[in-house]
């Protein structure tokens, strides 16, 4: 017995010594970063792009080709990773310390989560944030965690009312609806006069936020550390949405594949209005049956009794903390190039994406872009989301609630109470109910 105990002690001290030695090795002094000419920068970087590979991907690849004109020796391995898988895939790889991309296009809600796990480089003090004040405040805020900045905003977005101008005109409607009540009348008019459906509501948590925000509700109150999802305002917002479907103004949504169904119906002119974001503009534009951008109307989401607003979304460039230090210069150069005002203007011109830099909005391709102009109004009304590591987990229970309320006719308040209990049990146990 005693001998084994001694053996364990020796083993333990040996491992301790080893691990201390290993830790010591990582403490490197800050390397100097000499400014050199672009051609001397040599590195190979992997970039996971989570944008739609058909609609948006080619434009990003074009941008990479332009980047390589200035930096010929920085090779970018462009990898398109489906948006739905990227979060888990990145976490698995980052945790295993192998196989994660050097640069990741991360959704706004992912950044605080990854940062809290130590998976990202803090970018403070680098060239990337030297002109921090040029970024729009809300998109930049999603990159901050615990006083440090972990990403650079790529695009910002929010939900808007997208409508088929032709169908609305046929229905005798000249201006897009400004409130949910107006939306209902317009929808019914469309249905009567054109044979198409008025509006399609995607029964998913994110897409119901405009209804809840409209009545003045929110998910959680991060200041007071309180779960406010089951408020009367949110229930009222859901009732508005429910009424649209029950009255026949909105199409009956399906529980499965509803997003795809919504987009197909809209592109085929079978539904006149949807609530969606700028990332679908290019998709709609290139649909052969839709009639291009001339036929696409974009307006802020209709208002409820309190306000009008969609959730702030968007994507950021982040750098994986497992990337070796010697690649930092190249990574910074790449992200800097991709997030520059000119690149953002290029993307907005090509795809109708919204820049995150104030200076980009002064450039001609952005200033004269009708889609951007339309979405700018949308974004000014957007409501910030809680930027906490758990923010990504809010939507699982919310999606379930959306199906329950919109498809299975469950009472909104009861469904929201269930969501609140789940938040308390599984997402933010430290918050009050």
């Amino acid at each position: 017995m005693r001998r084994t105990a001694r053996g364990i002690a020796v083993l333990a001290s040996a491992t301790l010594a080893l691990s201390v030695a290993a830790c010591g090795g990582e403490d490197k002094a800050a390397e100097e970063q000499p400014k050199a000419d672009p051609a001397s920068l040599t590195a190979e970087l992997t970039w996971w792009d989570t944008s739609d590979p058909q609609n948006e991907g080619p434009a990003f690849q074009e941008l990479i080709a332009k980047f390589n004109q200035t930096y010929p020796n920085v090779k970018i391995n462009y990898q398109s990773v489906p948006f739905g898988e990227a979060q888990n895939k990145f976490k698995t790889a980052a945790q295993a310390k192998t196989g994660a991309p050097d640069i990741l296009r991360a959704e706004v809600a992912w950044v605080p989560e990854f940062a809290s796990l130590g998976y990202l480089y803090a970018l403070d003090g680098s060239e990337l944030l030297s002109d921090e004040s040029d970024f729009l405040e809300t998109p930049l805020a999603s990159n901050k965690y615990d006083g440090k900045t972990y990403g650079v905003p790529q695009v910002t977005d929010s939900l808007a009312l997208m409508y088929n101008k032709e169908l609305l005109t046929k229905a005798g409607v000249s201006a897009p609806p400004k409130t949910w009540a107006e939306l209902k009348t317009v929808s019914q008019a469309v249905k009567e006069k054109t044979g198409a459906e008025g509006v399609y509501l995607n029964p998913a948590g994110y897409f119901l936020l405009p209804f809840m925000y409209g009545e003045g509700g929110d998910l959680v109150d991060t200041g007071a550390k309180k779960i406010v999802i089951n408020s009367e305002q949110n229930a009222a917002g859901l009732k508005v949405a429910k009424d649209l479907i029950d009255s026949g103004a909105a199409a009956k949504p399906s529980a499965n594949d509803s997003y795809g169904t919504m987009m197909t119906l809209f592109k085929e002119k079978k539904v006149a209005m949807i609530i969606n974001g700028p990332w679908e503009v290019n998709n709609v534009k290139s649909a052969p049956t839709f009639g291009g951008l001339e036929n696409l109307g974009i307006a802020p989401v209709p208002a409820g009794s309190a306000r009008a607003g969609g959730p702030v979304g968007g994507h950021n460039y982040t750098i994986w903390s497992g990337m070796p230090q010697e690649k930092v210069d190249a990574a910074v150069a790449f992200v800097k190039y991709m997030s520059s005002a000119e690149s953002q203007a290029f993307l907005s011109e090509k795809l109708g994406l919204l820049p995150t830099r104030k200076s980009a909005y002064q450039l001609d391709p952005v200033k004269n872009n009708a889609v951007v102009a339309a979405f700018q109004a949308v974004n000014e009304a957007a409501v910030g989301r809680p930027w906490i590591p758990e923010a990504g987990q809010f939507f699982g229970p919310l999606d379930q609630m959306a199906t329950e309320v919109l498809i299975q006719n469950k009472d909104p308040k009861a469904a929201l109470d269930t969501v609140a209990r789940k938040y308390k049990a599984e997402v933010v146990p430290g918050y009050g109910l």
């Binding site: 796990l117 403070d124 399906s254």
Partner: protein, 338 residues
């Protein structure tokens, strides 16, 4: 191993320390060869099965998740420095907390998922076996183009599960799918397949039956061909009808095969992840979720919860263990040596 422990101690040696080493040594000298032969298997089992199994069980008693697994969280700065902070809420041993939270329904919907899983497993295996048996019987007699039929019927098996899952999902699409198109063509209102838990489960069951019948058919066909044809000839001479021959020769003759494939099928279907995950996606509102898909969503969406995942794993394993114990006992009662 049993022989060593079952041997009663020789009565002449007094109980004490001196007797044991000699007995062990004798046993070692006698059986060392056997131990040496067994060793590789023991090592492989230990590495591949016992270590993960016991680690999983151990994890289910902790609150380990992605956010609290490391003792300190290091934040690298782009300028080269690295700050490490002690993790404020490090993982710890929590006893039976996970089990309590899961079984009382505080986290997830364990009982609902279990119910759906049982229905799903029973219906799927019953359909697999019934249809497989029917098809095997039909194919187990001389007919033209038998080879072609066999190939066609095995085809679903050759298609990757996710491909057929997506195909079936699209067939049941509420607006653009074939199923509703056919229904409207014959004058029936289109069905919102995924809006109700039973119709949603129905779509998944149809997919899984389509996928699983070939295996049953092939296995049962193989079993049928091992039944000596003399039995059928003798029965025919005795004037037994086709049904009597099927009941009294085919079914008993198939029992060794069918019992095994039913057990296998049950375990596979119980843990059949891709069909539910891809076809119904748990819709509506998680009501068609089975245990494995529910556990996956609970444990791996958002910040991953390894301890919760292990808890579900242990619970699922225990259910299947209990099932196989009862199943084997039932078999033994019927005189099967398996």
């Amino acid at each position: 191993m049993t022989t060593v422990t079952a041997d009663p101690a020789p009565p002449s040696t007094p109980p004490g320390r001196s007797a044991r080493p000699s007995r062990l040594r004798r046993s070692w000298e006698k059986h060392w060869y056997a131990w040496a032969m067994v060793l590789p298997v023991v090592i492989v089992l230990a590495v591949l099965i016992f270590y993960p199994l016991f680690r999983g069980i151990w994890l289910s008693f902790t609150n380990l998740n992605e956010a609290n697994q490391v003792a300190e969280i290091c934040t690298k700065s782009i300028t080269g420095s690295e700050v490490c902070k002690e993790n404020p809420n490090k993982w710890e041993f929590v006893g039976l907390d996970n089990y309590l939270r899961v079984l009382t329904g505080e986290v997830g919907e364990f009982w609902q998922w279990t119910g759906v899983t049982l229905i799903w497993t029973f219906v799927c295996v019953a359909c697999h076996f019934g249809l497989g048996l029917g098809l095997a019987t039909m194919l187990n007699r001389p007919m033209r183009l038998r080879g072609l039929y066999r190939v066609l019927l095995v085809l679903p098996w050759a298609v990757p599960a996710f491909v057929s899952a997506f195909a079936w999902k699209f067939i049941f699409n509420e607006r653009f799918g074939l199923a509703n198109a056919v229904l409207s063509a014959v004058g029936i209102d289109p069905v919102s397949w995924f809006a109700d838990r039973w119709t949603s489960l129905f779509t998944a069951i149809v997919t899984n039956v389509w996928l699983g019948v070939p295996f049953m058919m092939v296995a049962l066909l193989g079993g049928m061909q091992t039944i000596p044809s003399e039995l059928y000839e003798a029965a025919e001479i005795d004037g037994a009808s086709a049904w009597q021959r099927f009941r009294n020769i085919t079914l008993p003759g198939l029992r060794p095969v069918s019992m095994t494939v039913i057990l296998l099928g049950t375990i596979w279907t119980f843990n059949m992840f891709p069909i539910i995950f891809l076809v119904t996606e748990g819709q509506p509102a998680g009501q068609s979720e089975i245990l494995v898909t529910g556990a996956f969503r609970a444990a791996f969406e958002g910040i991953r919860n390894y301890s919760l995942a292990s808890t579900y794993g242990v619970l699922i394993l225990s259910i299947l263990l209990v099932f196989s114990v009862f199943y084997r006992r039932a078999l033994r009662k019927q005189g099967e040596v398996w």
